[in-house]
């Protein structure tokens, strides 16, 4: 797409310049020297005014420079120059910049976003129009970068609520979760507006909306509304929480030193064996969470409320295929996760708030049975706000869509 537009612009540039040369040639033969000079100056001014400050090929190179930004300021000097050049672009070149977005570089995408906003804001201040048609075309192509589409969406819908509503009506499954969030907000409003006179239809719409919802606050709101209409929601399934676990503990974590000690479950998992724990021999036992958000409260599940202690949780996940997944953990304690014996995340943090999806780690699941092991470390803080010992873990794709085991009941 980018190459196509770039080539078209270059072709138009070529024809325009040929036309000027032909006209100029005819004038030179017919008129006096004074007129020729005057005409030459007019031509030069016309060329200067009509030519964009930055052409398509340059835009491509400049966005590449920005996309080469790395850690700790790597590439900043060149990128800063590229930003200065790109902000000279005309508003109708904005799609060329949007096509340079590559959200896999989270730093660069922010630089490019600032360029787009600056170019369009400056254009508006000069009284120019935003190129709505090309932005709409860009937004409609869901293969384009999700963040770039979001920027296009914001400029298209700014001050145009009717157009916004029209776009959002078909955006429930949008790959941009920001756009999708607004679509869900609108869909919920529409469903609630008919709740009194057409409850079954409202319920149907809410259920459909829930299947697209990925943000916790929206899921909670929709669930509440569905249940108020007599419907049921299986939240653990919607999120993909792992609810059935084998647990063992406590192991010692006095002075938080146990976090880096590899206790027996980190080497071998034999669910039948007794191993030595902090207070004597301990055995694995099974526990299923009844919590809607898959939470396992170890203070109530373990025989006692231990401090300076470690528990391990083990489960298996039957995957229908080899696939890359997110393991998303909510845990207010120190934690580690292994998938098939490979450590995928380690967070030695205690009592600094928690939420669903607090820690996100990528892992590859094998086709068939996969072993998942979680280490949950409690410290010895005495404050009332530092007593929780708990975790919740779910498996999903990068958008937060639940990935369920093939044997889920």
């Amino acid at each position: 797409m980018q190459n196509r537009i770039g080539s078209t612009i270059q072709l138009l540039d070529y024809f325009a310049s040929r036309l000027i040369v032909i006209c100029y040639g005819r004038f030179w033969v017919r008129y006096s020297f004074k007129t020729k000079i005057l005409f030459s100056m007019c031509c030069l001014i016309a060329i200067a005014v009509s030519a964009p400050a930055v052409n398509g090929a340059e835009i491509e190179n400049l966005t590449k420079t920005i996309n080469a930004i790395g850690s700790k300021g790597l590439g900043h000097v060149k990128a800063r120059q590229a930003v200065a050049e790109l902000t000279k672009c005309d508003a109708d070149q904005i799609v060329l910049i949007l096509e340079g977005f590559d959200s896999s570089n989270k730093l660069a995408v922010n630089w490019l976003r600032a360029v787009v906003d600056t170019v369009l804001e400056n254009a508006l201040q000069r009284g120019e129009e935003i190129p709505l048609d090309s932005l709409m075309e860009f937004l409609d192509d869901t293969d384009n970068d999700a963040n770039a589409r979001r920027v296009a969406y914001e400029w298209i819908t700014d001050g145009n609520p009717a157009l916004r509503d029209r776009i959002l009506k078909t955006a429930l499954g949008d790959p941009s979760l920001e756009i999708r969030r607004e679509a869900i907000e609108n869909a919920v409003s529409r469903a609630l507006s008919i709740k009194e006179e057409a409850a079954p239809e409202a319920l149907k719409q809410l259920k459909l909306t829930l299947s697209s919802a990925r943000d916790l606050d929206q899921i909670d709101q929709i669930t509440e509304e569905i249940e108020s209409l007599g419907g049921e929601v299986d939240l653990p399934t919607h999120f993909g929480f792992l609810v059935t676990w084998n647990l063992i503990g406590p192991f010692d974590n006095s002075g938080t030193k146990g976090f880096d000690i590899a206790y027996p479950p980190e080497s071998v998992i034999d669910l039948q064996d007794a191993v030595e724990g902090k207070l004597g021999n301990i055995r694995w036992f099974e526990h299923s969470s009844e919590d809607r958000y898959g939470m396992l409260d170890l203070n109530t599940i373990m025989p006692e409320k231990y401090k300076g202690a470690i528990a391990y949780a083990h489960t298996t996940f039957e995957s229908g295929k080899k696939q890359v997944v997110d393991l998303r953990l909510g845990c207010v304690n120190g934690n580690k996760i292994w998938v098939n014996g490979k450590l995928i995340t380690s967070n030695h943090v205690y009592h600094a708030n928690t939420s669903i999806d607090q820690y996100i780690a990528r892992a590859t699941l094998n086709e068939g049975t996969n072993e998942i092991l979680v280490k949950i470390a409690q410290n010895e803080q005495e404050e009332s706000w530092a007593q929780r010992w708990q975790f919740q873990l779910r498996i999903c794709d990068e958008f937060g869509t639940a990935i369920l085991p093939t044997d889920r009941r």
Partner: protein
């Protein structure tokens, strides 16, 4: 001759702009981190009836950072989205309240915070040429006064364990050509000096892996170089702004929310209540002048106006002798406070977490002379320029001045 005068005036204006304008309020807690102002501010206002409200502007998302005033702009940060992942820097015209420009970014670090706080908790800072906006997600943005991006850094992108899901709140400081950030938490805990022109990392020093919300404070010393004060639970460190090398350390048990205050050759900071240090000319470890354990601040940082020191201890404002630490008087206020108050023309302006403004007249004693609701929580210190006060609530920015 006249054109020469104009050229001279323009050159002077440029010089003032590049080096920061004396009229600006462009730092966390104002110039030199001491929110003392001498404008003719209204003692009360009515956001509903609009009495003394010059303008009110809506903000995208929400935030708890303070506004800063630079040039003819008021600049505010905020964050929005399901997980506060959307970051905003918005600039308003000081006179009209009209939005001059708005920039938005996506957070690259951790965005979770306690509901009371926000991703937009650190206060931006400006050197008069550029604005540096920082967020709990450890994203640092540099823009010029027209909103043009100079650079964007994702410090948690570079150091992924940096973050605190309660929320980070330390505001950046400018020390000459260096922007200093203090990122202390249980993960990747460090302070860093960043080239203000390019955003490149100049230095990074590890810090205790403990939660800390204190902000760095910079000051220039006799040889022209800059020193940065870093307060953390284990003590107060002074480091060279260009290298991060330690200049001196005072090991003391310190607060982890308040920030130090340097006034003249003294430093006031939250250690064992409040402690005053006296800097020595050799630049070695300063001596303790006094320590007052009754002057314990919770969230608000100290204010010093000549011989008067003000400490907000819970909901009690305490006035002490800045030379001795002796308590002069105290007045109980209503509510819970996060914002450091501002002192102007003998009045302290307090904004509590529930949106109640209390104005205390200070002198031999303290007296609450005004008390009124503004209907929205305010967690950031206001900014003051001339006879105008700028404060931001969760969702709005206000300019308060007499008609």
């Amino acid at each position: 001759m006249k054109s020469l005068q104009i050229i001279f005036a323009v050159v002077c204006l440029q010089f003032v702009n590049v080096n920061g304008n004396a009229a600006d309020w462009a730092d966390f807690r104002g110039p030199n981190g001491n929110p003392v102002h001498n404008g003719n501010l209204p003692l009360s206002w009515d956001v509903q009836g609009k009495k003394n409200v010059a303008w009110k502007a809506s903000l995208p998302g929400r935030g708890v950072s303070s506004p800063i005033a630079v040039g003819n702009l008021v600049v505010v940060t905020s964050s929005a989205g399901a997980n506060q992942q959307k970051l905003y820097v918005v600039a308003f015209d000081q006179q009209t309240g009209k939005q001059r420009w708005r920039r938005s970014f996506w957070a690259t670090g951790r965005t979770y915070t306690h509901p009371t706080s926000s991703n937009a908790a650190p206060t931006p800072v400006s050197d008069g040429e550029y604005i540096y906006a920082f967020y709990s997600s450890n994203d640092l943005v540099c823009l010029d006064l027209d909103g043009n991006l100079m650079w964007f850094r994702g410090l948690a992108h570079d150091y992924p364990k940096a973050g605190n899901d309660v929320g980070m709140a330390s505001s950046p400081a400018i020390a000459g050509d260096v922007v200093v950030v203090q990122i202390e938490n249980q993960g990747d805990s460090f302070a860093s000096g960043i080239d203000r022109q390019t955003g490149e990392e100049l230095w990074r020093v590890p810090r205790d892996p403990r939660a800390n919300w204190s902000s760095p404070v910079a000051y220039q010393i006799n040889d022209g170089s800059f020193t940065v004060l870093l307060q953390s639970p284990t003590g107060l460190n002074a480091v060279d702004a260009k290298t991060g090398n330690e200049r001196w350390t005072k090991e003391m048990s310190c607060g982890n929310i308040t920030s130090p205050l340097k006034v003249g050759q003294s430093i006031y900071f939250g250690a064992g209540g409040t402690t005053r240090l006296k800097l020595n000319p050799k630049g070695t470890t300063p001596e303790v002048v006094w320590n007052a354990n009754r002057l314990t601040a919770n969230a608000a940082s100290p204010i010093v106006d000549g011989e008067n020191l003000y400490i907000l201890s819970g909901s009690i404002i305490k006035s002490a002798d800045s030379n001795t630490g002796d308590l002069n008087w105290q007045v109980r206020l209503k509510g819970r406070f996060w914002a450091t108050p501002i002192l102007s023309n003998g009045h302290l302006y307090f904004f509590n977490q529930d949106g109640l403004v209390q104005v205390v007249k200070v002198g031999e004693t303290g007296e609450v002379v005004e008390e009124f609701e503004i209907g929205e929580p305010v967690l950031g210190t206001p900014a003051a320029v001339g006879n105008a006060l700028f404060f931001r609530s969760d969702k709005h920015l206000f300019k308060i001045s007499r008609p």
